[in-house]
């Protein structure tokens, strides 16, 4: 057995906890989960059935935890996992799953399939069967501090632009601020409007906040590739930055998996609770609005909808806030038929958008979002994840759909009552 296979098998073995055992013991192989997954509905390829993506871990569980599995393995009727299995499942798990968790909402016996898929990723990553694009992004995140290779000077340059544009100071490294705002590389490079919106909103609401020059990146390639150790390393940077600046709260930006990593996974990755609170920017905006600190005026006239980022809404629990926020600034807010925690994914989450070879598949599965949008006939899409935004912009362009997409923080800032 090769060393990498052994590493992969050991890692997979270590993933079998009571939930995994319960889930595998309960699955009746009904196939219902397939109908919830856009990778299956848009391709009709049964290999994209959610539970099928967990097969390597299922095989191991069966052979090591069940009577028939042990018996058939000892009699030579069933084969142990091979490197070929790892190679075969790599594209299914990384390219063919955006970790959206929709399948976990529909399983009649309650299997949290996305939870198991994340565990399969851990095994594949340990055996070095991960797409090169994700490996490189993870390397950059560890070595440079950002999966896109964004360094502090790039952020400083964007800060200068924002300061020129808004005439306001962007606070950085302010010790004792109430909030430390994190950013995603995509926001820094593609949507610096987010930073400008933050400055304007926080000025009006009187929020004491700061950026941190040593910990500004919120994204977490460790989570996407399935390496908890690296995920912990990246989270620790944020924790160190927050502790150094003595902030009380950390704000997760408009990025789905970053929220998942810093809010929910983080303490588990580093093995201890945080000495600060984590809030998502949508939660904070909603709180500021509910308490009267954030005042908006004017209403968007055209038909407008919200695309729920999976990790923020379905897997993150921030569901009511974006709806309240959007309704407060629009008079024609419409919901997709399946929305909120049952919304369909854009197709690019979980690292899929980083994988170049997955582009055709991503465009193909975007047809699900396209048909949701076709039904609605909206003039504007609002979302709260820079990755969703970029993926949807590409999808819309591919299908010749001319609908602008804007971030929630940005659109709220456009409606600010100026002091």
């Amino acid at each position: 057995m090769s060393e990498r296979l052994e590493r992969g098998l050991n890692k997979l073995r270590a993933q079998i906890d009571s939930k995994v055992q319960s889930y595998f013991s309960s699955c009746v192989h009904c196939g219902i989960c397939a109908e919830s997954c856009l990778f299956y509905t848009e391709t009709q390829d049964p290999r994209y059935t959610p539970i099928y993506k967990t097969k390597p871990l299922h095989t191991l569980w069966q052979q090591e935890y069940t009577f028939w599995g042990k018996l058939s393995k000892s009699l030579g009727f069933s084969k142990s996992l091979t490197e070929q299995d790892f190679a075969d499942w790599e594209p299914l798990v990384y390219d063919g799953c955006s970790m959206c968790g929709r399948c976990s909402m529909v399983c009649p016996v309650g299997v949290d399939i996305a939870y198991i898929i994340q565990k399969v990723k851990e095994g594949l990553a340990a055996a070095e069967y991960s797409p090169d694009d994700l490996v490189q992004a993870t390397k950059r995140a560890v070595e440079i501090g950002s999966p896109m290779g964004v360094k502090l000077p790039a952020l400083q340059a964007q800060i200068r632009h924002v300061e020129e544009e808004t005439g306001m100071k962007v606070p950085i490294d302010v010790v004792g601020a109430d909030y430390l705002a994190l950013l995603s590389s995509m926001e820094i490079m593609n949507f610096p409007e987010y930073i400008a919106a933050l400055v304007r909103i926080f000025k009006q609401a009187g929020v004491s906040w700061t950026l941190c020059s040593e910990a500004f990146e919120a994204t977490n390639s460790g989570l996407q590739i399935g390496n908890s150790k690296i995920a912990g390393q990246l989270v620790q940077r944020v924790v160190d930055g927050a502790v150094k600046l003595k902030v009380k709260n950390v704000i997760s930006p408009e990025c789905g998996h970053a929220y998942s990593a810093i809010r929910w996974g983080g303490p588990n990755f580093i093995g201890k609770a945080y000495p600060f609170k984590v809030v998502h920017i949508l939660e904070l905006l909603d709180e500021l609005q509910q308490t009267g600190r954030l005042k908006t005026s004017g209403l968007e006239k055209g038909r407008i909808t919200f695309h729920d980022p999976c990790q923020i809404v379905r897997r993150g629990g921030v569901e009511a806030q974006p709806v309240r926020l959007l309704k407060s600034i629009s008079e024609n807010y419409v919901e997709m038929t399946e929305h909120g925690h049952m919304n369909w994914c854009c197709g690019g989450g979980g690292g899929v958008s980083t994988i170049e070879r997955a582009e055709d598949l991503r465009i193909q599965v975007f047809k699900r979002k396209k048909s949701q949008l076709d039904e609605l006939n909206v003039e504007t899409i609002v979302t709260a994840c820079a990755n969703c935004r970029l993926v949807m912009e590409e999808g819309l362009e591919h299908y010749d759909m001319d609908i602008p997409i804007i971030g929630m923080t940005e659109i709220i800032a456009e409606h600010l009552v100026e002091n």
């Binding site: 699955c27 009649p108 809010r263």
Partner: protein, 213 residues
């Protein structure tokens, strides 16, 4: 001789295997390692766990039209089988005499026929899905087919036994039930019990994040 074996020793063995097997399996799931979640919960996990045990009886929003026939087949089979198991007159008598010491009103013969038709049709549809639907075909295991066949045999011999014309038929039914009970803890039939911790685990996870599942 064979009758004595089926009604006596084999019956007792199958009951012990079933009871010990199911308990062992459930305990090994519940007491297996489960990492403590160190993130700050948004809400308590317990209401989420309890709620999800019940909400998953209903298809998720927007799913019903996509899985219509699977839901119909699943409900027909499970409800039909439940009615047969607990309300068929011979079973009510059997449970009273052998285990409980009390009984309840059994269903009339016509209801038995309808329940049996529901259960058979439901099982047949589910099995057809297994062998014909590309998704179910790909993910189904040998164990799933064995479980379907065993369940079918138990139901078939049960219906034949109800005719009560030959005591051999009753023996055949009992023997098939014994095989079923022995196979049960080692198979996907365990979902009869494990669906509860599975739904509860998932519901607890969603519950502490403040998500309705």
């Amino acid at each position: 001789m064979i009758a004595n074996l089926i009604d006596g020793l084999l019956w007792n063995i199958s009951l012990v295997v079933f009871a010990v097997g199911v308990s062992w399996k459930m305990l090994s799931i519940i007491f297996a390692k489960r990492p403590v979640d160190l993130s700050v919960a948004r809400a308590s996990s317990i209401p989420g766990a309890i709620k999800t045990v019940f909400t998953r009886f209903k298809p998720a929003a927007g799913m019903a039209s996509r899985i219509q026939m699977k839901i119909v087949a699943g409900y027909m089979f499970h409800l039909g089988l439940f009615a047969l198991m607990f309300f068929a007159a011979p079973h009510v008598r059997f449970l009273d005499n052998e285990f409980l010491g009390f009984s309840w009103t059994a269903m009339p013969h016509s209801a038995f026929i309808i329940s049996a038709q529901f259960a058979f049709l439901g099982l047949l549809m589910l099995w057809l899905y297994r062998v014909l639907d590309p998704v179910s075909k790909l993910i189904s295991t040998t164990g799933d087919h064995v479980a379907s066949i065993l369940t079918f045999v138990v139901m078939l011999t049960g219906c034949l036994a109800l005719l009560e014309s030959f005591s051999e038929l009753r023996l055949l039914h009992r023997f098939s039930v014994e095989l079923f009970l022995i196979y049960f803890p080692f198979s996907s039939l365990m979902h009869t019990f494990t669906f509860i911790p599975s739904r509860a685990f998932t519901g607890a996870w969603f519950g502490r994040r403040g998500i309705s599942s």
